[in-house]
Subunit: 163 residues, 2 copies
């Protein structure tokens, strides 16, 4: 028991030495995250199939035949963003805190801040996510879900993100 | 010019002496309001035809044929509430800060707090508003607006509100 504790401490020391830069980066992200206020629990980490970086999604209202409306919250850590995608019935974004970006394919990137409301028209290819130094808290509303919810596409490259 | 300033100061002194209690009550409400964080501008005071007390509404997304979804924010000062009403297509409430109440006709009053999401079914008579000592910041979503938006009814009496 004592031996395995010593082994664990030694391993831990090795790991924290090796990961020092990563730990500092994480501390910076946590400090930034603390500045961005949350209304809802953080939720589950979004799949790397659909997101670059750390995005956390929290479903609030499931799509059903009564409301035909999907509502949820996404917290994007700094630098995190969705893949390119489109919604058959469009999407409404409500920014509750932080700073982020939103871009429709072929148009200039727009900055989104607390209190902004974005309407993304049906079948319009776009992405959204946090700015590189501040996270983003974002409510999304997908109306008329009988038309479909989302069609995912390729990731947003670092070059596309920075433009 | 100087005379009118002196008159103004004298009048102001009379007014603040006469309104001391009211001013204290207002200061209390402002202090409470400061504790309830806002995401959006306060908006316009809701009509006394539909609200008891001070409620401020801020439209965020108008109903149109693309999204068929009405979105807005209401700030209820402590004690303020809507009349009884119903929505032909139902309503989703998202509480972003503060404390409030929600009641479906014939059921017990429920308390709503930051992070709560309420689904009010179609054609269900209900009211919502702030608690008596803390204001409420509330986003509302009315889906499928082609079915209609709201049917207003009678005010919520003090007895109904306190029950």
């Amino acid at each position: 028991m004592r031996l395995s504790m010593i082994t664990a401490i030694a391993l831990y020391s090795l790991v924290i030495t090796g990961c020092k830069e990563q730990t500092n980066a994480q501390t910076d992200k946590q400090a930034t995250a603390a500045k961005v206020q949350s209304i809802f629990p953080k939720g589950e980490k979004g799949s790397s199939e659909y997101f670059t970086g750390n995005a956390y999604t929290n479903g609030l209202v499931p799509a059903d035949s009564t409301y035909a409306t999907l509502v949820g919250n996404v917290y994007f850590e700094p630098g995190a963003r969705s893949n390119w995608h489109r919604h058959p019935a469009g999407q409404i974004l409500i920014i509750t805190d932080g700073v982020g970006y939103y871009q429709i394919k072929g148009q200039a990137r727009q900055t989104m801040r607390k209190g902004d409301v974005i309407q993304c028209p049906p079948n319009t290819v776009h992405w959204h996510g946090a700015s590189s130094d501040t996270g983003l808290q974002q409510l999304y509303i997908i109306p008329n879900t009988e038309k479909g919810i989302v069609e995912w596409m390729e990731p947003v490259t670092d070059e596309e993100y920075s433009n």
